[in-house]
């Protein structure tokens, strides 16, 4: 594993330590834990200092070509939540249709480690139709025994979305829905993230090599918060953490800041 400066220089109670501590005292379902991105700037902005664990969250690619980016971010986000769960309860259900798998690939164990996900925790559903994916997601949520559910659907009706949101809330199991870029979004989701690929970080030694992956993340909708904020986040595959890649990127979108005269 690469030496990660963040880890060694971190102040005493790191977010991970807090998560570990809360995982130890876990006794009555996962509701007590926050589901953070691990980036203070974003977590502070979200209601409840993180994503709502008992809710439906939508992750959409910015363009169809960004689907893998959306998938990767979704799984990385879920992996963060899983690592905070007690070891026996870390199962994750991943459901997609054959068509989606052909488009953007299926999770590949040897590569999932880089997202911080143990392939042994994954149950894969390869469905024939979207309706089967929706059914599997709902069953997974209603079982109340999984740490989370990730589903990729090409079509989603309002009724189906409501059912999922209700199941996620009732059984306090987080649900990430990966939907196509062009699909109108569902109003019942607790949050909606638009994910695009972003040119990766510069490699410390050789600029021609790829380094940490970056995502362009836009919070398009969030219950109880104004939407439209965007960040560029960087994924560290050594420490399995997100960090803000370019704090400046956000300032430009804040009204008044960019237009301030230079002198």
């Amino acid at each position: 594993m690469r030496a990660d400066p963040e880890r060694s220089l971190a102040p005493a109670p790191t977010p991970q330590a807090r998560e570990r501590a809360s995982a130890c005292s876990f006794s009555h379902g996962p509701a007590g834990r926050p589901w953070t991105l691990g980036i203070e700037d974003i977590d502070r902005f979200l209601p409840g200092h993180g994503l709502a664990p008992g809710g439906l969250h939508e992750v959409k690619p910015a363009t169809p070509a960004d689907t893998p980016a959306a998938q990767a971010l979704g799984l990385a986000l879920m992996a963060r939540w899983l690592r905070a769960a007690p070891p026996r309860a870390r199962l994750l259900l991943w459901a997609a249709t054959w068509r989606d798998i052909g488009e953007a690939g299926r999770p590949y164990g040897p590569g999932l480690a880089a997202l911080g996900l143990d392939p042994a925790h994954l149950i894969l559903i390869e469905a024939r139709r979207d309706s089967e994916v929706l059914w599997a997601i709902e069953e997974g949520l209603r079982a109340g025994a999984l740490a989370g559910v990730v589903g990729s659907v090409a079509k989603l009706g309002l009724t189906a979305a409501r059912r999922l949101a209700l199941a996620a809330a009732t059984y306090e199991t987080p649900c990430l829905l990966l939907t196509p870029a062009t699909l109108p979004s569902v109003p019942v989701a607790m949050s909606r993230w638009r994910v695009g690929a972003s040119p990766g970080a510069r490699h410390a030694l050789d600029a021609s090599l790829p380094a940490q992956m970056r995502f362009h993340l836009t919070l398009e909708r969030c219950r109880g918060r104004e939407a439209g904020r965007s960040w560029i986040v960087e994924w560290s595959d050594a420490s399995f953490r997100f960090r803000l890649a370019a704090p400046l990127a956000d300032r430009a979108s804040r009204p008044g800041f960019a237009r301030r005269p230079a002198g």
């Binding site: 590569g111 392939p119 559903i125 059914w135 109340g144 090599l209």
Partner: protein, 532 residues
């Protein structure tokens, strides 16, 4: 009104089945339609549907499994039962026209053999069927009684134990399930009844036939009817060791009633399994509808279980979609596949853990979830990733049904990371891409994939993966080739992790090395995985 079913046999229309009125006119099956029309001008005909007949008979036979453990379809003549050339056999076999049920150890449930037969006749008559029952010690004797005895009284159709030889003696030899030619031969020899046949010394009998096979066939059938020789039969429904059944005096018509009865059956089965220290891996729930049809609901379990609640929930899902018709008067729940399951288990442990709100009960919930997913979507669609010792990326991991092993955290450590980065998403098949790259082993500078072009700004590689020479893997098809897997030896792959100007990352490889593996086809590029 005389009615006949006709079928084209060797180019001419032939009668295959007749109603009573037609028989009274002197017609018989096998007659040509033209001849029959000449004799009976008013003969009504319908086309025969042998396939539909067979499936109807099969359905009825399945429903009849309520009366016994083994159900078989009976054929009128099966030629030589011991050995026969395949062609002879095909010619001699007739379409099944009867149902055989083994009722050993079952009759007392219905109040005796006579009551069982009476119940059977009553129900089948209720469906509008004409029944010719026969009950005897052996399948052969029951077959003969059912077909050769004309009396309608049940008393005459039940052969008491030990009286088989005496009761069969007056019956014609045709009742022995012999091919028609053999029957004719026996008639010519003056052997009209089974009794006469049985009295002939066996060596004499064998010598009288022109072929040994025919003699052996006659003797075997005779022995089988008399219970001297055994007769293996393959049941339509495999008999199960673990099963419970429940009959209802009045057919159940409400789904609530059926659901409640299912709960009872599940408890009963769980107790039966507990006594044998077994756990079910497969369940079959059968509903016998009073209109003579049967609904079978199978379900698989991801790990052996004997929890009644689990059985109930699993089957209740599928029960909702079942049409109960005119009601259900018999239900059975069987576990055709079981595994050993020790005594320390389940209910108590689960109770304790759920009270503590612990995660152990989650394991049970997960098993139930997997069972439900697999029973609806299919076992091969609920998968988990399993590492496999191979250098080839697509073989370094196999997808196995979750059923293969309970979904639990892996005990052995993950395989050590070899080589370079691996993408989190792998395409099911490597896709050909158009690439501009430096020859011989430069990374791609431009990439065209799915009609999208991009410029590559960063790249890492190559990571060279040689084919496994001990595996006869076929080569990959280039974009201009139509064949999915050309007959070519697999070649070395050079993998690159590349990033385009928008930050999207791909995992691509070049199959084939320039200068060394070009002889059969030029090297080609493929996209195999996606990072982001």
């Amino acid at each position: 009104m005389p009615l006949a079913f006709v079928e084209a046999v060797q180019g001419r229309l032939t009668l295959t089945a007749l109603n009573r009125a037609a028989r009274r006119e002197g017609l018989s099956p096998g007659l040509a339609l033209a001849d029959a029309r000449a004799a009976v001008p008013g003969l009504a005909t319908l086309p025969a549907e042998p396939a539909a007949d067979l499936s109807a008979l099969r359905r009825l036979a399945l429903w009849m499994s309520r009366y016994g453990v083994r159900v078989v379809l009976e054929r009128p003549a099966t030629g030589d039962p011991r050995k026969s050339k395949a062609r002879q056999l095909r010619a001699a076999i007739g379409a099944p026209d009867g149902i055989g049920i083994e009722i050993t150890g079952v009759a007392h449930l219905f109040g005796g053999e006579k009551d069982l037969l009476a119940d059977l006749v009553r129900r089948l008559s209720g469906f509008g069927l004409t029944v010719r029952p026969g009950l005897a010690d052996t399948p052969g004797a029951a077959f003969a009684v059912a077909r050769a005895i004309t009396s309608g009284k049940l008393h005459d159709r039940i052969v008491p134990p030990g009286e088989t030889a005496a009761r069969l003696a007056p019956l014609p030899v045709a009742a022995l399930r012999l091919a028609p030619e053999t029957v004719m031969l026996l008639h010519r020899l003056g052997l009209k009844t089974i009794g006469q046949l049985a009295q002939v010394p066996r060596p004499n009998l064998e010598r009288r036939f022109n072929s040994r096979d025919v003699g052996a066939a006659v003797l075997t059938r005779l022995d089988q009817a008399l219970g001297v020789a055994g007769e293996p039969a393959r049941s339509l429904v495999p008999p199960t060791r673990f099963g419970v059944r429940r009959t209802f005096a009045e057919p159940l018509v409400s789904s609530e009633g059926v659901m409640a009865a299912l709960g009872d059956l599940a408890t009963g089965l769980a107790e039966t399994l507990a006594k044998a220290e077994a756990g079910a891996r497969r369940l079959v729930f059968a509903l016998y509808r009073s209109d003579g049809s049967l609904v079978r609901i199978p379900a698989g379990l991801s790990r052996p279980s004997r929890e009644a609640g689990h059985f109930h929930r699993l089957l209740a899902d599928k029960l909702a979609a079942v049409d109960l018709g005119f009601g259900v008067d018999l239900m059975t729940l069987a576990a055709p596949a079981t595994e050993h399951l020790g005594a320390a288990q389940t209910a108590l442990a689960d109770l304790a853990s759920s009270r503590a709100g612990d995660v152990a009960s989650r394991a049970g919930d997960v098993a139930l979830l997997i069972d439900r997913l697999a029973s609806r979507l299919g076992m091969d669609r609920v998968l988990r990733l399993s590492p496999h010792a191979s250098h080839l990326p697509e073989q370094a991991e196999v997808l196995v049904p979750v059923f293969a092993e309970p979904a639990s955290p892996r005990s052995d450590p993950p395989p050590p990371k070899r080589g370079g980065a691996r993408p989190p998403f792998l395409l099911p098949h490597p896709e050909p891409v158009a690439v501009v790259a430096e020859i011989p082993d430069g990374p791609p500078a431009r990439l065209e994939w799915r009609r999208r072009r991009c410029r590559i700004v960063r790249a890492e590689g190559p990571e060279r993966i040689a084919p496994e020479w001990w595996q006869p893997l076929l080569g990959l098809a280039r974009p201009d080739e139509t064949e999915a897997r050309p007959k070519r030896r697999a070649r070395t792959r050079d993998y690159y992790t590349i990033e385009d100007e928008a930050g999207r990352r791909y995992w691509v490889f070049r199959e084939g090395l320039y200068g060394r593996e070009e002889s059969e086809a030029p090297p080609a590029w493929f996209l195999h995985g996606l990072f982001a």
